[in-house]
């Protein structure tokens, strides 16, 4: 580890007059596991072709152990570097084992037949890819996932130090995607194989790669660890899509949740600000719906760790935060009032009231008195969610008298906002 294995020096590639890669530069250390991400047409596959000695860049160099791969002969490169294509297509009925044996080609002389060592390497490659039982099967009869495992086994039979893969999971279902990527990661971790793979799926890349390159229009937009690269700002800048990022529940690597773009709704929302008073999970779906509909949403006061607070974090909603399980402080209250003042709509979710959050009702009363549009959702009767011996009840009734809009469910809120927004 640590030693430079592959060095890409300012490569430029073009198809005809159309430049595809423009000065791409990076270093991969021995034993590194690098993912290349980017939208369609950003140059991912071209970059892999340049590294694999398939497409000679018109500028720049690719150094493998300090040697320019375009200056050493193809057999020497094939002994150190293997490539797994996106998909393999076969018209001829070789057995899986014969296909894997083809990986020995760079190690065999023209008239040399396979030695016992070659057969052993082939069996190991088959075993490593969980494919020993496929050895005698015809390649034409295998499923996509099985064929891809055989393609990896063939690459392993080359006994390479670098493994390049071009979207190895592009045509596979989710189960086979994780199977293939787990095999690749095991090769990387257990055998210190340097791996570079082009991936399409941001979540898989985040989960399996140690380093990620984000390509945009033939240039490196960002390079770093998954945590550094998979951020909603980066994704938005490169792919132009709005996404939510949250850590994976098991390994905490960032996971991407795509938000569908609905231009018509965003137009109706017209950039209006909505402040939601929630807590205890009562505003979770409402927050999502409002963000999705294109409103600028704020929330408060929410206790840290509360499920509404978590949702607000994921959605990137600006939130007034109170310490976990603690009452709302005077300072919280003030910031809440600030947010409320800026909002065109203030919405009260059917939250339970305790001594800690009764301040929220006071804040809403202030808003209503100012003449702001306050919407109260009365799905659950106030009696059932008052835990303050009637104090909350009083404040609540007082609020209702100040001329708020009362609705019976969350579903009505969005309809109301959109109806009002159009007029």
């Amino acid at each position: 580890m640590g030693k430079v294995h592959l060095q890409i020096e300012g490569i430029c590639c073009s198809y005809g007059a159309e430049p595809v890669l423009n000065g791409v530069e990076f270093i991969v250390e021995r034993g590194g596991l690098l993912g290349i991400l980017g939208p369609n047409g950003s140059g991912k596959t071209t970059l892999l072709k340049a590294i694999s000695r398939t497409l000679k860049p018109h500028l720049g160099r690719v150094l493998l152990d300090d040697q320019d791969i375009y200056r050493i002969n193809s057999i020497e490169v094939a002994r150190q570097m293997a490539v797994v294509p996106q998909e393999s297509h076969f018209d001829f009925p070789f057995t899986a084992r014969e296909i894997v044996m083809m990986g020995r080609t760079p190690h065999l002389g023209r008239f040399q037949s396979e030695s016992r060592h070659d057969w052993r390497v082939v069996e190991q490659a088959l075993a490593f890819t969980n494919s020993s039982h496929l050895a005698e099967r015809r390649i034409t009869e295998l499923s996509g996932g099985e064929k891809q495992r055989i393609a990896i086994a063939r690459a392993l039979a080359q006994e390479p130090e670098v493994l390049l893969l071009d979207e190895p999971t592009a045509f596979l279902d989710i189960n086979h995607q994780t199977e293939i990527l787990t095999i690749i990661r095991r090769l990387n971790k257990d055998y210190n194989l340097t791996v570079i793979m082009v991936l399409h799926d941001l979540n898989l890349a985040s989960e399996y790669c140690d380093q990620i390159i984000l390509l945009k229009e033939g240039q490196i937009y960002a390079l770093g660890s998954p945590e550094e690269i998979i951020t909603s700002t980066n994704i938005n800048a490169v792919y132009g899509s709005k996404v939510l990022i949250r850590p994976h529940p098991l390994h905490r690597r960032p996971q991407v949740i795509l938000l569908a773009k609905d231009q018509a709704q965003t137009k109706i929302a017209g950039g209006a600000r909505v402040h939601v008073v929630g807590g205890g999970g009562m505003a979770t779906s409402l927050l999502g719906e409002l963000v999705q509909a294109g409103y600028k949403v704020t929330a408060g006061v929410l206790n840290i760790g509360d499920s509404d607070w978590e949702q607000a974090k994921i959605l990137g909603v600006d939130t007034v935060e109170a310490a976990p399980f603690s009452p709302v402080t005077a300072e919280n209250h003030r910031s809440n009032l600030d947010y409320i003042e800026k909002a065109q709509w203030v919405i009260l979710a059917p939250i339970p009231f305790g001594e800690g959050n009764i301040y929220n009702l006071k804040a809403l009363q202030t808003a209503a008195r100012r003449g702001q549009r306050v919407v109260v959702i009365e799905r659950i009767p106030i009696q059932e969610r008052d835990y303050t011996d009637g104090k909350g009840l009083l404040e609540y009734r007082h609020l209702l008298k100040l001329g708020v809009i009362r609705v019976t469910g969350e579903g009505e809120v969005l309809r109301l906002l959109q109806r009002e927004g159009q007029t």
Partner: protein, 350 residues
């Protein structure tokens, strides 16, 4: 694989023996029937060095039989072997090169070039002769090679000749050349019969000079293709994967293209257009022995030879004293057999 490897050698040995038997049988069959034992004695005695002592000199050898056998039948039968082998190996090579089991020796227009050359020679008249040969085989050979040069250069884009471009250029050139052949045929009423008959393919009256014309090219080409047998296997993975296995794809492609075209050229130049052999024989052998070219190529060469020897026997003996065109028979015999194979093994067409 180990089990397959075990049965490979006996199979090749069996095919070689079958070829020898076929040759001996074919030599005995004809207007004058010669017994097998006499055939063997004549052959043994004709071996220049030591042949006289190979077998006891008890058998009676009729001198005219010797002449018929050595001067007429032997070159023809050997040419049948050579043409059958050449077309089959050429077909197998093109199928591998193009990654397409439906490719055949005529795919890039070599045969159309040969046809144009041959037709031109026939239309010019039979007076031209070189090296004891008529103009037809020489013109056909030249036509074939010129076509490869043309097609390859048409398909080439900056040092690379993509397979798809080769295929398309081949189809385009083929149809132009075929149109020219038709044009010449249309305007040469006197020679029409000859031209049509030549195009149907035949080994009738081919002597040693034909065999000697084709032999060096065919053998050299087969040797080249054999050398690249492993590369041909890798080509079936695709051009890029082959490249990643360290194979100089463009160079190897060029050698194989030339060698396979040369095989087709020498076959067509000496015997006219014989279809179907180059398509069917590789298929059948692949069904039996698998697609590994290191086994496939020698087996295909032997099987192609055997097949054409027997079809030629049929051509000579089916309707005596008439000789049927060989190209018609290969299709008539091979076609139904091919269909039978496809029907029988529906799940694995190739």
């Amino acid at each position: 694989m180990t089990s397959k490897r075990k049965k490979t050698f006996p199979t090749l040995l069996f095919l070689a023996a079958l070829l020898l038997v076929s040759i001996v049988v074919a030599l005995g069959i004809g207007a004058v029937s010669i017994p097998v034992s006499e055939t063997i004695h004549i052959l043994a005695r004709s071996i220049p060095i030591g042949g006289r002592f190979l077998l006891p000199p008890t058998a009676v050898i009729i001198p005219s039989h010797r002449d018929i056998l050595i001067e007429l039948r032997l070159p023809r039968v050997l040419l049948a072997v050579l043409v059958g082998s050449s077309l089959s190996v050429s077909g197998a090579t093109f199928q591998g090169l193009f990654k397409n089991p439906m490719a055949d020796p005529h795919i890039i227009g070599v045969s159309a070039g040969a046809a144009l050359g041959g037709t031109t020679a026939l239309a010019l008249g039979p007076r031209l002769r070189y090296f004891g040969l008529g103009a037809v085989p020489l013109f056909a050979f030249a036509g074939a090679l010129l076509t490869v040069v043309l097609v390859y250069n048409m398909a080439r884009v900056g040092g690379r000749a993509p397979i798809m471009s080769l295929l398309l250029a081949g189809i385009a050139v083929s149809s132009i050349l075929q149109a020219l052949v038709s044009l010449i045929t249309y305007f040469s009423d006197g020679e029409l019969q000859k031209i049509v008959f030549w195009m149907m393919g035949s080994l009738s009256g081919r002597g040693w000079e034909y065999l000697l014309l084709a032999l060096p090219y065919s053998l050299a080409s087969m040797a080249v293709i054999w050398v690249f047998a492993r590369d041909l296997n890798a080509f079936l993975l695709g051009e890029e994967p082959a490249l990643h296995l360290g194979i100089e794809v463009e160079a190897v492609k060029r050698y194989l293209l030339w060698a396979a075209s040369m095989l087709t050229a020498s076959a067509v130049a000496t015997s006219g257009l014989i279809g179907f052999v180059g398509l069917v024989v590789p298929h059948v052998v692949r069904l039996l022995l698998g697609p590994d070219h290191r086994v496939l190529l020698p087996a295909v060469a032997l099987t192609g030879g055997i097949f054409l020897v027997w079809v030629d026997i049929l051509a000579r003996t089916a309707l005596p004293p008439l000789e049927l065109p060989l190209g018609l028979l290969t299709s008539l015999v091979g076609g139904p057999f091919f269909i039978y194979l496809l029907r029988k093994r529906k799940h694995a067409l190739y």
